[in-house]
Amino acid sequence: MTKQPKVLGILDILLLILVPASLVWIIFFTPMEAVMGNVQKVFYYHVAAAWAGMLCFILAALAGAAYLHARRLQWDWLSLSAIEVGVVFSLCAIFSGMIWARPIWNTWWVWDPRLTTTTIMVLIYLAYFILRSGLTTPEVQARLGSVYAIIGVLTVPLTFFSIRLFRTIHPVVIATGSTGESAFNMSPRMLVALFISLSVFTLLMADLVWHRYRLAKLQSNNRKR
């Protein structure tokens, strides 16, 4: 197994610096929200996690399409890695969203379109792993997994709009805007924080997917023997 590529090592170290830096910036250098208080600061990481999760699932669908075209198993390893990391990021978004909603609406779960869509996406992609574990030959796993990954990502807009539409017809009791709404009237510092969080999470996503890809490659070679 080839030694870990240099770039990946640099990326790891870079992230070890950037993540704490972004935390410091969010906690200390962004203004406190007038009504919600400090908890609003979770918003940056919450949106960044949801964004990275979404990016993963789109990457997984593209890798799946590439596998169906080229029939190289490398594409399937990438698709599998992207989905696994995508589920992890989506879980981050879900739990942070719940903790954020707690003080505002004193319920753990609020049927906010974004949060609900993310939860359904987690269900969709948990089914992806169940499907893969039910299949025996790697080639079939790759082919059916890729098809499912593509169908999965195609239904996300449908899911989001149906829930948003459902929300507007049955508004939640305290309609103070959903967790993401307040994102638009943001001061420059808040925008910088959001930008930092998004880019840190995108780098983190690339790093984790790359590591998971190498693990998938290793596991696949082990099975070959």
């Binding site: 359904i120 269900l123 169940i130 039910g134 299949l135 082919r143 059916l144 149906s162």
Partner: protein, 227 residues
């Protein structure tokens, strides 16, 4: 025979074969119907639905029982083909693989729609609400069509796993959630007297779902079935 008429003729062959097998074996629609009614009674006792409250839930209950019943139909339809590898027989036929997808999903749609047609009067009696609107039939047709096309596609996936058709609900329900939401909301709107104009957005969602899942079926059914 021109290519188009041959394509439609093939689809018709598959649908008529499925109807013939169903007519002979009578294992499909009756089972789905009994299962749907069972679901309704279970929910009635489980949720202690009081009569006046039930009216609002009629649409939701109708669609949940339809969803579970059509899952039975989807599993039966695909295991019918896999039984003696009759699916290979269809793959051997001189037609594009998407014709098999169309044939199977239309036959699933036909059976589930039959069950829905029987369920409607029963629901009307149970919840003393006249549910025999033309608009409602249109919504049911669109919703069931989207659901069964996606279900046919995923059934071809789940049948290849070790646990065969056990996996279908796990794969199908999260993906079909928007269809369920749109169908229930549209049906509830119609039952509470809203005109089709007000339900435009739901109908558009159902159409989008239909278009998406039939397109996915045409694109991927061949890839799923080929070894």
């Amino acid at each position: 025979m021109k290519p188009w008429t041959r394509y439609l003729y093939m689809i018709w062959l598959i649908v008529s074969k499925d109807i013939q097998v169903e007519w002979r074996g009578k294992q499909g629609v009756p089972v789905m119907l009994v299962f749907a009614l069972l679901i309704v009674f279970l929910f009635n006792f489980a949720l202690q639905l009081s009569p006046e409250l039930q009216a609002g839930l009629a649409a939701g209950l109708l669609w949940v029982s339809l969803m579970f019943a059509s899952t039975l139909g989807l599993n039966r339809s695909i295991s019918l083909e896999v039984e003696n590898k009759a699916l290979d027989g269809l793959l051997l036929a001189p037609m594009d693989r998407s014709a098999i997808f169309f044939g199977k999903s239309l036959s699933n749609l036909f059976f589930t729609f039959m069950v829905a047609l029987v369920l409607l009067p029963v629901f009307s009696l149970l919840y003393d609400q006249n549910m025999l609107h033309l608009n409602l039939l249109l919504v049911i047709f669109l919703g069931v069509s989207a659901f069964t096309s996606l279900g046919t596609l995923l059934a071809a996936l789940s049948i290849q796993t070790r646990t065969r058709d056990v996996l279908l609900p796990v794969l199908l329900y999260p993906l079909a959630l928007p269809i369920l939401i749109a169908s229930v909301e549209a049906s509830r709107g119609i039952l509470s007297g809203q005109s089709k104009f007000e339900l435009q957005s739901w109908l558009f969602l159902l159409l989008a779902g239909n278009f998406l899942f039939y397109a996915a079926g045409i694109l991927f059914y061949g890839t799923i079935l080929e070894e």
